[in-house]
């Protein structure tokens, strides 16, 4: 399989010289090795769809780009992603001339599952709540979720808020536009939500008024769960938390500032070696980027991807996404913290990070494959590869360009948004 031909490179270089849209619209077919894949016709009652466009960004580990490209989905799963192949007659196909095909985006920090913006997110009677779960608050296909879908964001980690140090377990779900809970859930519990500093600070006169108290609350509970996990203890209130300590579920940790990020990495990786992901990491959190990189902790950054305060010190706006990537943190990803930033502006987090110095392709990874892999769902979503869920987006151009319009969104191979059918949303 051919990756990118030399003429295409030249064409792309030319595109930057004459028109920003020329490169993506008029690429010549590149020389592609004949594929051995021959799609069989759909069996009776079997669902399937193929999409064909000018460019296919697989977002796979090799970063393969096909120009033109095709994705074939059968029974909800991807069967083929590569150069266009001959399809059996009657096989449903959606042809988007000039279209770019890419995987549905993944946002690991989202609060719109209960509908009505912030909805029902925080139980704040006690500071640590390992028993709680988001599941009872999920309203599938609510208006904010439908908007996310139309923008190409297809997988969300719907999590409790940061009102307490440990607010409970979130749900990984798809943004299908007319579905019930069983149809949208990808994994439940999807993972744990922890808030390491700032928001959970308590003013009630009890423990947790400072970061020292917050740290002690988490450490005490975590040590207990870690020991329980080692001994195979049965404890209903720690059941899910112990699976985090057995490495079976990931944990997303709200933290910000350099000392907050460092404390998170030290505790959740250094002390307990969990599958932890730093979330936010805002302000000058990037200063702890090299430490997170050394410890192998992924960062899920946003919704602010710059440090304006640095303007006073350095006379420039620091692009913090670029700083984290340059520090070498693994599986760097971006989030919206929706509704803090609207879910549909996940792509814009990537564009604006690129504006402030990050590599555009790395930012595309940061909203597709990286969040999926860092949260142990890389085998299901985040890239277009055989066997994975049929979550496919087709757009009129580069996903990171706000002038691009979304043409088609498939989730599990079903058309969830179509510009032709539903009118242009984005």
């Amino acid at each position: 399989m051919e990756r990118i031909s030399a003429p295409l490179l030249a064409l792309a270089a030319l595109a930057s010289a004459c028109a920003s849209t020329a490169g993506r619209a008029s690429s010549e077919p590149s020389a592609v090795e004949p594929s051995t894949y021959v799609p069989r016709p759909l069996a009776a009652g079997e669902s399937g769809i193929a999409v064909r466009g000018a460019k296919l960004l697989t977002m796979d580990a090799e970063g393969r780009v096909f120009d033109p490209g095709m994705v074939v989905v059968r029974a909800g799963r991807i069967e083929y992603a590569g150069a266009p192949v001959e399809l059996p007659p009657e096989f449903p196909v959606r042809d988007v001339p000039g279209g770019w095909i890419w995987p549905g985006m993944v946002d690991l920090h989202s609060h719109v599952h209960s509908g009505g913006s912030f909805g029902d997110l925080n139980d704040m009677v006690v500071p640590t709540n390992p028993e709680l779960r988001s599941r009872p608050t999920v309203r599938p296909s609510n208006p904010e979720v439908r908007v996310a879908c139309a923008a190409g964001v297809t997988t969300l980690f719907g999590i409790p808020g940061s009102g307490t140090s440990m607010s409970g377990f979130g749900v990984l779900y798809k943004t299908k536009t007319d579905a019930d809970y069983e149809d949208v859930v990808l994994r439940d519990p999807g993972g744990l939500k922890v808030a390491q500093n700032f928001n959970p600070q308590r003013g009630g006169g009890d423990l947790g008024a400072s970061w020292a108290g917050l740290g002690w609350l988490l450490e005490k509970l975590g040590d207990e769960a870690a020991e329980g996990a080692r001994e195979g203890r049965e404890d209903p209130s720690l059941e899910n938390l112990m699976s985090v300590f057995r490495g079976e579920l990931p944990v997303l940790i709200h933290c910000a500032s350099a000392e907050g990020v460092a404390d998170t990495v030290r505790m959740w990786k250094g002390r307990w070696n969990t599958n932890c992901v730093v979330s936010h990491g805002s302000w000058d959190g990037y200063l702890a980027g090299p430490y997170a990189a050394r410890m192998g902790v992924p960062v899920n950054h946003g919704p602010r991807t710059m440090n304006l305060l640095a303007m006073r010190r350095e006379d420039r706006v620091v692009g913090t996404a670029a700083e984290y990537v340059d520090a070498g943190v693994p599986l760097f990803s971006l989030n919206t913290d929706a509704p803090v930033m609207p879910q549909e502006e996940l792509f814009l987090q990537a564009s604006m990070s690129a504006r402030l110095g990050a590599d555009p392709y790395a930012m595309l990874e940061a909203v597709t494959t990286n969040p999926a892999r860092s949260f142990m769902i890389g085998d299901r979503v985040g890239s277009l590869e055989p066997g994975k869920d049929g979550d496919v987006v087709v757009s009129t151009g580069d996903p990171l360009d706000p002038r691009t319009h979304v043409e088609l969104v498939l989730i599990d191979g079903q058309v969830q948004y179509s510009r032709e059918r539903d009118g242009q949303w984005f």
Partner: protein, 429 residues
Amino acid sequence: VVIASPLARTVLALTAGAMPGVGWSDTPSAEAGAPGGPGLAIRCAKALTMDEERPVVDRALILIADGRFVAIGPAGELEVPAGYELLDVGARWAMPGMVDLHCHVAGTFDINGAVYQANPGLRVRASVVPDNPALRRAVAAGVTTVLYIPGSATTMGGQGVLLKTAPASYEAMRVRDPAALKLAQADNPKAWGWGMGRLVLNWQIRDTLRRGLAYARRWERFERDGGAAPELLPQYEIFRELLAGRARIAAHTQAYQVVYSTLRIVRAELGLPVFIDHGTFDGFLAAEMATALEVPAILGPRSVSSQNKGRGIDHDGRILGVAAEYQQRGHPQIGFNTDAPVIPQEELALQAAMGVRYGFDDARMQTVRGLTIVPARVAGVDERIGSLEPGKDADLVILSGHPSDPRNAVERVYVEGRLVYDAREGRKL
């Protein structure tokens, strides 16, 4: 960690814009183009002149001398005159410095005198701080002119001043003072006191505008016909500027019935020069009336009309783009603003880009027009700024591609022929 193939990355980087640091010719002297210095010739891949005749010139040559444009045309048609220094910027693009007609960050933020409800005499000039951090970011983003205006705490906040953003003395920054009278037609000024409603605001506005207009007419008559000089009333002096066409009313107005009131009272009844500032929510429902009355629309900082705001918009859950809705109703003069610091000054171009995302047609560079020549014309200073045309101020932005793709970087900014930002000396954005 798997970082994807360098090839794929390169292609995406290239389609996103020129590679940084590639293709610069030898740098001319720092004085080239500036007043008193030698002439400057800039060769670029594309010049978005925003000149009516030839809005886009491919492989262009731009000639600058003494702080002004001398000529712009295809490199094949223009010679580099003797004595000019040449800067070849390779694959990069050039465009006019951008203009933001709604800015609150040119000074100390002391922009609301809210003792009285209508304050046509107040001036924000007193709070301008040249070369402040917000203005430095504006320069680095290619925003070279701003209308610095009072806030919306009262129905009439006072007078705005049109400024260049580049570091200079106040006198050198000033393009026009006073340049605008700030009107706040609804919402925010209601917070002035208990019992304030739109009815009172509209009365306040109509009453003050009529008094001010009568004052300006008395002076106009006196200057034309002589006779006894009218009494000098400093709070109404701005109306003489408005009547003479040297200033505009910047109307903070949004939602249909409010935009309608602006058009009805300020334009249809009193005939004053006014532009719609904000125009958001369902303000676009008055777009056809605005078009008929030739009232421009400077939109933002909210680029969408969301169904969740309870503004009586009834549709299927999709998000409506404000600029797109004005455009689809045939409005010909659409520009964009930031209301900085509501949206940071440096994200002006993003306002236009997001307009396209929500359906604004950019086929004829309407985004670029809305960032440059449209606001310049609306402010009445298009003889000086807003396009790359001979005789105009050499306010020029060199960038790596289309300004409405946020991944493109601003690489150089000239204001009046002076190089005021050079990303090669350290990118600020």
